[in-house]
Amino acid sequence: MSKSLATHMSPASNSHAAMAPVMEVRGLSVVVNTAAGERNILTDIDLTVAPRSVLGIIGESGSGKTVLSRAMVNWLKPPLAITKGSVRYDGRDLLTLPAATMAGLRGREIAYIGANPTSALDPTVPVGHQILEKLRAVAPELTPQAARQRVIDTLDAVRIPSPKQRFDEYPFQFSGGMMQRAMIVDALVSNPKLLIADNITQPLDVTVAAQILRLLRDLQKDFDTSIVFVSSSLGIVSEIADDMIVLDRGHIVERQSVRGLLATPEHAYTKELIAKVPMIWASAETPPVPSSGDIVLDVRDVGKTYRVRDRKAIFAERQVRAVRGVSFTVRRGENFGIIGESGCGKSTLSRLLSCLEQPDAGQIQFEGRDIATLKGRDLLGLRRRFQLLLQDPYNAIAAHASIGRTIAEPLLIHGLGSRREIEHKVKDVMAEVGLAPALYNQLPIGLSAGQRQRVNIARALVLEPELLILDETLSSLDQVEQAKLLDLFETLQVKRGITYVYISHDLAMVRRVCARIAVMYLGRIVELADNDTMYWRSAHPYTRALLSAVPTVEAKPYRTATYLLEGEPPDPIDIPPGCSFRTRCPFAFDRCATDDPSQTIYADGNASACHLPLNSLPAPELAH
């Protein structure tokens, strides 16, 4: 297939050559049986997993990578079927083993971790007990006490804080990252020879994913396990893998060492994949500049607290402080970005901004009027000029109404125009966002995510809003579709002078479109700066940690090792005194534990909330 493939496969250049491979897949083909007949999912897959190595498999959604990783544990269910090939492990072909023998290998010698940690365990049994149950099943020779100790030790080894207490907690009490660590414990507790990790960082935030990657790398050495690491993110696979396989629509198109693949990709598809990884710093595009228009949206010291019942005390409530004193302004014609990881309060903020909930403290002013005081007709008037686009293109549109009717709904609500005028307007806006007129009378079932999001956009645009809040609007779309819609937004901005607020966790996207950016952590804005300052000379350690953890394939100004965060964000119920970021901050010092830093506003209008002087953070390792 390629030169590097030949060299990789030849014994002379392979340091692991002396030892037999852990797993060898030969000529594996998988089909899916549908009503329309068989369709190929995997075709003639050959791969070898060397001992003590990490084999990365990269492929986009639909490339067959999950099917491949499941086939490697002989765990495919109808309508999927293996048509030919072998999966050799320890001198045996797993595909021809009796079901009972195969079941004996799964979870013992070959472990598998999937992409969905939060639903991977029985929700009604404590996590530790379930891991113990598995360990007792695979290692019945251990005494109950020894097994329990081993589980707790392994929980400790993956840096789950207070493992003894965590042992008795339930899956829903674990965050996604913690749960994924627990699943790693579950996989490694039986000392498997091979671990198949299928897209395990996919649901996690970048800083947590970075921790998991480092953890897996360390554990692989300690436990002497080979890992097959499957992912759709080139940036992530390249952080951990030794060798890499590129999967394109069921075919292996290239295999190389990571370094080789990134430096000299050979197959056209690989090159395309690499080109698609968004560039944050190496991009040639100049980021948008702040606008000097009038202030459209003025958010002043807004706060929101929810109450939850406390199970540990009688008639007690606990306060979840979701948003704490957030302030920013957005000027007309500007693109403003709000970024942060899960639980940072950005979705609460979005609900407050869209007037679905009222803030407990502070004010949100739209064109000088406090939106909390608006009622009835005034509120309806506000809704016309101030729209919000939601994240999920599937649930945002009702399944039972035609597309034309869905887009017409806001006009009907606001009583704008006769039946004919409305139809006319709807068709105009459909053309504007790129929806075929033929869709007017169709139900949305069967539309792609991108098309659905266009319906969504059309529905908001038909009211001719002045301000559009985009709450993770593009995050479920692939890169190509995302780029198309960003272009559409830009065109609309030029044509109609719309102001956008992007709420997102996608740092590359925000880098491309936003002029000014706010970074949120635990319900608070920790840094607010213009685009270039934010990405090149950030003043807050959290911003730098976020940027250092972004999986990219370019050189970064912030080195991952310098800014790697410990642990997870604290529970918004128990916000630590002092600086709320100090529990994870690599630069925290004694003052941080007592004083809560207020926002310091610098000469250039940017601001950050950190006790460290502006230039006391390590100098960026890459100059602009």
Binding site: L379, L390, N395, I397
Partner: protein, 306 residues
Amino acid sequence: MTSSTATAAGTTAAPKTKYRGVTARILRRAWGQTEMKVAASIFLALTLLTLFGPYIIDASATKMSVANKFLPPIFMEGGKLPHFLGTDQLGRDLLLRSLIGLRNAFAIGVVSVVGMFILGCAIGIYSGYRGGLTDVILMRLTDVQMSIPVVILAITVLGMSRPSPLTIIAVLILASWPVYARVARGVTLAERQKEYVRAAKILGASDLRIMVRHIAPSILPPIAFVAVLDVARMMIFEAIFGFIGIGIQPPTPTFGTIIASGTQYLLNAWWITIVPGVLLALALGSLNLMGGVLERARNHILQGGE
């Protein structure tokens, strides 16, 4: 499946396949099952018999005839035409009495289920959508209602007033609406979290509009499928009321009174009780089987099946 070359369907092409709504898919799936076809055929046959039987069979359901009393069904020795299923202690034709009973029971079943469906779902959607104190009060109200057993309520109300089809329907609705309210509320709670509701709010839709135009159309059809089962349940209640003597009053025949009157003659003329019951069970069986298949088809489709 997205891949590098196949980008989203493009901006001009309409989807190729014809997609159906959830309701259509459930019905199609259900109709594909043999049980559904069998049950529907039985139901259709009984409907036709009920509609046209009284005109074809040359006998009377109410006129007494001493000469013809205790006639067994025609498949037994001594049976004679036109009394296919024999006669009762007063010589009335059992088939005709059963058919009229069936018609009345079915009418009461359908009307009361429609009534409890509308009342229950309206309250359920309102309660689930409003949440908060409204929800607590309305749900406690369903608790109150549900904690009075149907039969106690019915015998108290019907036993002490004059039972008529309307009061029977009223009692059935009153006793069973909380079940629908509970179900509709549960689905609404989940539905309210969905983004389309939030989207409608942001667009400025009023709460009433969201409940009526957005939530109701998406949650009601699946609940309605299960309501078929309740028609059968209500028909059983109608029979029980008749049996206890608090149902539709004689001389109008109902299953309850037919069965009750036959119990005295069980040893000599068992068919008076047993045979009409078979007819009723057949009718209920076809309804329940259809309901069961629809329920399973619904679960299958809602869980992502085709």
